[in-house]
């Protein structure tokens, strides 16, 4: 026991003194969490889009039927900063064909995100359409507002969503005034969570980051403890001393578990600071421990078939990458080809992610609860047995 404690102390001191261990195990998960949270909780909230408003309408100008000016005023009010916050949009306004052409060029070059074009007969067409709705006739064409966006540009998509919501609100208002609003159906988006509480992307990503962090310790920490030390012949020297392999093994496991416990504490604290809503009950604590236990053999597995520390590092990178991104730790795996989905459903991290999110009350698991235990456990057992049989303590 004393020898285990001594070697445990030595490994812990070595980890604390290693900037790379501290960075990859503590700072990197935190940085990744902050990056993902700042990007994806910013979507549609803090984002500001640049719009060109082309008002070509020529009829009913400066009258109470100048509907185009109401829309223009709405956009202008959205471009004014209130309470020191960034305005939703930056507006450039014009009414000529030249302004439209220049705006189209700007859009193509990404200098603005969208263009709204109000047609010349807009006010007349709105008025006649309102009259038609009342009478049930269909003699005149409806006004058509054109919105130009940059293809496959996400900021442009956000701009379109904002602009179309404003026009949708005007539609609803016009219908209300024409007396036809009673049955008009409008979409209402609701984000739902398992617990019924407010649920944000941060809730989804914190368990994912937690699994990634624990997995990283095993993949890189244990691989390093075994392969680098074996290559440098440190293990050989250690076993010359009165220390047996199982004592080194347990000390190494404990030192890695301590690092994992520290990183879990930090990630959860940062998660709460970012506003995450996570439940901590017996099941979620059990599942965190289960995650630690089932990811530990990953490092042994790599160490058992990698011939050198370099090849071990390369394999650890590949495993890490596959398990992180195909395991859906940061984004759900949707809309991918069948073959990619099949690989994703064979990975333990897919089930660990589903299980931990379910245990923490973030979302219901898309996979059955028993699979969330059986699949990672099966991976751990197979890798553990393989490692025990094949790992060589000496190069």
């Amino acid at each position: 026991m004393k020898r285990i404690v001594s070697i445990f102390k030595a490994l812990m001191i070595s980890s604390i003194r290693s900037p790379s261990v501290i960075f990859w195990n503590i700072f990197f998960p935190v940085i990744l969490l902050l990056i993902l949270a700042s990007i994806f909780t910013n979507i549609g909230k803090g984002v500001s889009v640049k719009i060109a408003f082309v008002n070509e309408s020529t009829t009913f100008k400066n009258t109470n039927m100048d509907f185009a000016s109401y829309i223009s005023d709405a956009f202008k009010s959205m471009s004014v900063a209130t309470d020191g916050k960034t305005p939703i949009l930056t507006l450039e306004a014009g009414s000529t064909q030249q302004f439209l052409n220049e705006s189209l060029e700007k859009l193509k070059y990404g200098k603005i995100n969208a263009i709204v074009v109000i047609p010349p007969l807009f006010n007349t067409q709105v008025y006649t359409t309102l009259l038609q709705q009342k009478s049930g006739l269909s003699l005149f064409s409806k006004p058509q507002v054109e919105i130009y966006t940059l293809q496959n540009d996400q900021t442009s998509n956000v701009a379109f969503t904002i602009l179309s919501s404003v026009l949708e609100a005007f539609n609803s208002e016009f219908l209300k005034n024409s007396g036809n609003n009673s049955d008009f159906v409008s979409p209402v988006i609701e984000y739902i969570s398992k617990s019924g509480q407010n649920f944000s992307y941060v809730d989804f990503v914190v368990p994912g980051i937690l699994i990634m962090a624990v997995m990283t310790v095993s993949l890189f920490g244990i691989t390093d403890d075994l392969l680098v030390q074996r290559e440098k012949k440190v293990l050989r020297k250690l076993f010359v001393a009165p220390l047996n392999k199982s004592e080194y093994f347990f000390a190494m496991i404990f030192s890695n578990i301590i690092i994992e416990v520290i990183q879990i504490g930090i990630i959860i604290a940062i998660g709460f600071w970012l506003g995450a809503t996570l439940n901590f009950n017996g099941w979620s604590i059990f599942y965190v421990i289960f995650t630690i236990v089932t990811t530990l053999p990953l490092g042994f597995f790599i160490a058992s078939f990698a011939k050198s520390a370099d090849s071990g590092n390369a394999m650890a990178n590949i495993f890490n990458f596959l398990f992180m991104f195909l395991g859906g730790l940061f984004f759900p795996i949707t809309g991918v080809p069948f073959a990619v989905k099949a690989i994703a459903y064979a990975l333990p991290t897919t089930y660990l992610g589903n299980g931990l999110r379910s245990a923490m009350g973030v979302m219901s698991s898309p996979t059955p609860a028993y699979l969330n235990v059986i699949v990672p456990a099966a991976w751990a057992i197979v890798m553990g047995i393989y490692s025990v049989k094949t790992f060589k303590w000496e190069a």
């Binding site: 949707t334 809309g335 990619v340 898309p366």
Partner: protein, 343 residues
């Protein structure tokens, strides 16, 4: 003659170095394929969507496969667990659309689906909106491009970034640590011959790996690029050279190859999220946008997209970027070669 001999030796060394091949070729390839499939699935879902509903039967909309749920809670549960992409229920005049926040990246797409369903319901009641909204997508190239087409030049730029930096912080540092360079100095080899052969070989290696990655991307994903080959070649070479300059700074700040390699890995991992490869810079918070526009990789990504003909970059901006990248690196490499200590 000595130059070609050392160039040959460097080439053999690179080909035989499995780790070099792994990180310069295999790893970017895996990155390209995984990110290609995962991110294009998120931003441009393919095929029909599984949409659940509770209560009133909803009108058919193309691209949607409906599944009926007997209770509201079972519908919500299905959305929450990711069994279906969206859930609908008509509550009076509100089409409640249930979305899981886990899918926030696809929220624009889901909003448009919800709007289409609401429009169809209104149409079936004989109510049509007063104002029609028509969306016109314009593109710089005039071609239909998707998320993946935007991602590929970004992945190539990342490869240029890693090839340039790691060639110095891994390869050159490794030569220094193993005292290979010191041994060269005992031969009649001039310093410039060694450095020139080293840089030349690394440039060729980087260029070939980018070309290979590009060809694989073309075979797997068929992106509709209009390639400006001059810009493509110049961006690859100047980008690699520029990143070698940064690699040299890292190397000089590091006591050994391992530390230099670690610093490069950290830099690579952090920078890749802020350079507009995976997420558009406009969607980042303002302070992160400022960080992003201070990073050289951001400009390599933009230059590579312009070379592929999918994003604009004026002639002046492009050549200014190239000149800064090229001459900046020349200055760094020249300056630091004076203080680069072999021992």
């Amino acid at each position: 003659m000595r130059f070609s001999a050392i160039l040959k030796a460097m080439t053999f060394h690179s080909i035989r170095d499995r780790m070099n091949l792994f990180f310069n070729l295999f790893f970017p390839l895996v990155t390209l394929l995984i990110f290609g499939y995962v991110f294009s699935g998120i931003y441009s879902p393919q095929g029909s969507m599984n949409v659940g509903y509770y209560g009133q039967v909803l009108p058919a909309v193309s691209g949607i496969k409906y599944v009926e749920y007997p209770t509201l809670s079972s519908l919500q549960e299905a959305v929450n667990s990711g069994k279906i992409d969206l859930g609908f229920t008509l509550d009076g005049t509100s089409l409640i659309t249930y979305v899981s926040p886990a899918n926030i990246q696809s929220s624009d797409y889901y909003t448009s689906i919800s709007k289409s369903v609401a429009d169809e319901i209104n149409k079936s009641k004989g109510i049509t909106s007063i104002i029609n909204v028509k969306r016109n997508d314009v593109s710089f190239s005039g071609k239909q491009i998707n998320y993946l087409d935007n991602l590929i030049p970004g992945i190539l730029a990342l490869s240029i970034f890693s090839a340039g930096i790691f060639s110095i912080t891994a390869s050159l540092a490794h030569f220094r640590d193993k005292k290979v360079i010191k041994k060269f100095w005992t031969t009649p080899l001039a310093k410039w011959e060694f450095y020139a052969a080293f840089l030349f070989e690394k440039m060729i290696e980087s260029f070939l790996s980018i070309i290979l990655l590009f060809l694989i991307a073309m075979v797997f994903f068929h992106p509709p690029y209009s390639i400006d080959w001059l810009r493509f070649i110049v961006t690859t070479l100047a980008g690699t050279f520029g990143m070698m300059g940064i690699g040299m700074i890292i190397l000089l700040l590091s006591p050994n190859a391992r530390v230099a390699s670690e610093i490069s890995s950290v830099l690579y991992t952090v920078i890749m999220f802020f350079s507009g490869v995976y997420f558009p810079l406009d969607l980042l918070p303002k302070f992160l946008q400022d960080v992003a526009y201070g990073l050289p990789l951001t400009y390599i990504v933009i230059a590579m997209k312009s070379a592929m003909g999918i994003a604009p970059m004026s002639v002046l901006s492009y050549w200014l970027t190239i000149v800064i990248m090229f001459f900046g690196a020349v200055l760094v490499l020249l300056g630091f070669s004076r203080i680069f200590k072999i021992d």
